[in-house]
Amino acid sequence: MAPTISKQDVAHVARLARLALSEEELELYTTQLASVLGHARDIEALDIADVPPTAHPFPLSNVLREDEPRPCLDRDEVLAAAPEVESARFRIPRILSEAP
């Protein structure tokens, strides 16, 4: 069976997730993820044409709340957790690009 995932795929996904992996970790995770994906491939052997996709493991839908305000956090408490604060806002380092 062809490998289900390449080392390049793993490196790409790791970069997207901002994970710095060593060469050894890359090898290890590629093997492990290939095994997980191989397991999922077993499903391909089944005829699932009539089975609707599972959106959620719980048999629940429409969990909704009324549009009623609830108390927010105390701002001083919130900002106390920030590394840097200015004008009651979170001060963050220079951003290198526009929002996606």
């Binding site: 709340r65 009623e68 701002r75 001060r91 220079r94």
Partner: protein, 482 residues
């Protein structure tokens, strides 16, 4: 942009993505107030700050408003799910945005422009808004800024994103689409429609193709247009840029471009190797959203009257086409009740429509405010119709009624616009005829050009207060010996 500028060689293909903030009391997934203009970071909680262990719970009213938008756009409401759109950016503290991906709540549909053209709707889905970043230093530009500040009051505010089909073919049509959509969003109560406060934000996809061709060219997405005016300018600039690239034998790169209002141009936002991969996956903390048929039917039944129907009603009353300019102006400005009032008072609805689309529309404040009463307006129209006021006088009276209120009789009196009786006008006409015997001789001999001469004299003699149509009639009758 019209294709004329390029000698019929190219046409523009435009699709719009409009983000609309919903008018709910609370955010999409938590009970923090959805409120514009508050002190920074007062409307935040563990959910919208993305603190570990917090869980989102969907706001029922946001779903209701999304369904109303879908119903107004003739979309199909369907069972839908939420996805996580993953990206690292400080405007979203969770490092993902909860949105709808392959199965949106509203699918398909169309919107009818005032011209009668239908623009296809691809989808209208629910998602959450992001926080607001302010760039400090470097004139507020992101690339030159020293650092940024973030306010999370807006993070988690409910949005509906409405995606059009690439059916729009000019900057002007794009503006019409946004205005029409804005009217629908306000009419359904889904949004306050305030573009200047960011309640309505528009991104557009622009491509060009040889005129008459069916191809869909490589498109660019344009962001950062803060008004209808900048939307029009950005589309015109971008279409011209793409034509220049292609006419020069080059290829348009698919990319996101940023509109710079002060420079009047778009520029590339990021390099290609940074192409985004959002790793969408189903949001495990939320279950399927499957509105019942009853709910959808109730929403449809209570939708109220939308702008297209209002245009039809006004057009019918005034006996003009629904696609005519005055009709769309009056409906867009919410003045159609005045046409109805004129009809009710048996005044000339066509005249009422013209006065509303011209004088009243021109005198409205920036916020659309005015002091004009409906019955008073209808009485003014009747007075003009009966010749008790000339059109010039009626226009002057109307401007004052719009700015200050009051009834037409009182305002006309204040301005010294006494109704000039038929006898008084006849006397004035007689005076000018007697004073200009040579001109009268030529007019009497059949030279109709001289009518204008006498009308001018009547106008001067009465200080513009005469009903000039009546004066013309008097001249004709005097010549005919009646």
């Amino acid at each position: 942009m019209s294709s004329e500028a390029w000698g019929e060689a190219w046409e523009t293909v435009i699709g719009l993505e409009v983000h609309c903030e919903l008018r709910t009391a609370t955010k999409l997934f938590c009970g923090c107030p959805n409120s514009f203009g508050d002190e920074p970071n007062v409307n935040v909680c563990p959910v919208c700050l993305g603190l570990p262990g917090s869980l989102p719970v969907l706001n029922k009213q946001a779903v209701e408003l999304a369904l109303r938008i879908g119903a107004a756009l003739h979309s199909r409401a369907q069972s839908s799910i939420f996805h996580r759109k993953n990206y690292f950016y400080p405007d979203m503290p969770k490092d993902y945005q909860i949105s709808q991906y392959d199965v949106p709540i509203n699918a398909g549909g169309w919107l009818e422009l005032p011209s009668g053209k239908q623009v296809g709707i691809v989808r209208a889905h629910i998602e959450e808004d992001t926080g607001k970043t302010t760039h400090i230093g470097g004139g507020g530009r992101i690339h030159e800024a020293g650092y940024s500040l973030v306010d999370y009051n807006r993070a988690g505010v409910p949005l509906v994103e409405i995606v059009s089909a690439p059916d729009i073919s000019s900057a002007e049509e794009a503006r019409e689409y946004v205005e029409e959509l804005r009217g629908i969003l306000v009419a359904t109560g889904a949004s306050d429609g305030k573009m200047e406060e960011g309640s309505l934000r528009v991104d557009c996809n622009v491509s060009v193709r040889p005129a008459g061709s069916e191809e869909l060219g490589t498109r660019c997405e344009i962001k950062n247009m803060n008004s209808l005016r900048s939307l029009g300018r950005a589309i015109a600039y971008e279409a011209a840029r793409q034509v220049e690239v292609r006419a020069g034998g080059g290829e348009v790169q698919q990319e996101t471009r940023h509109w710079d209002e002060s420079e009047g141009r778009t520029h590339s936002m990021r390099s290609k190797e940074e192409a985004f991969d959002y790793r969408y996956f189903p949001e495990p903390d939320l279950v399927t959203l499957s509105p019942s048929e009853d709910w959808v039917a109730t929403v449809r039944a209570n939708l109220g009257v939308l702008p297209a129907e209002r245009r039809r009603r006004v057009a019918k009353a005034a006996r003009v086409p629904a696609s005519s300019e005055p009709v769309s102006t009056v409906v867009r400005l919410g003045l159609d009740g005045f046409v109805a009032a004129a009809v009710e008072a048996e005044a000339d609805a066509g005249l009422a429509l013209r006065r509303l689309a011209n004088e009243v529309a021109g005198e409205l404040g920036d916020d659309g405010g005015h002091h004009l009463g409906r019955e008073e307006f209808a009485r003014l129209v009747s007075m003009e119709e009966r010749g008790e006021l000339t059109s010039a006088q009626a226009r002057s009276v109307l401007k004052i009624m719009v700015a200050e209120g009051g009834g037409p009789e009182e305002v006309a009196g204040r301005l010294g616009f006494e109704a000039m009786g038929a006898g008084a006008l006849e006397a004035v006409v007689e005076d000018v005829v007697v004073a200009n015997p040579r001109e009268w001789g030529r007019y009497a001999a059949g030279d109709d050009k001289l009518a204008g001469f006498f009308i001018g004299k009547v106008k001067a003699a009465t200080g513009g207060n005469a009903d000039l149509r009546a004066a013309s009639e008097l001249l004709r009758r005097r010549r005919a010996g009646q």
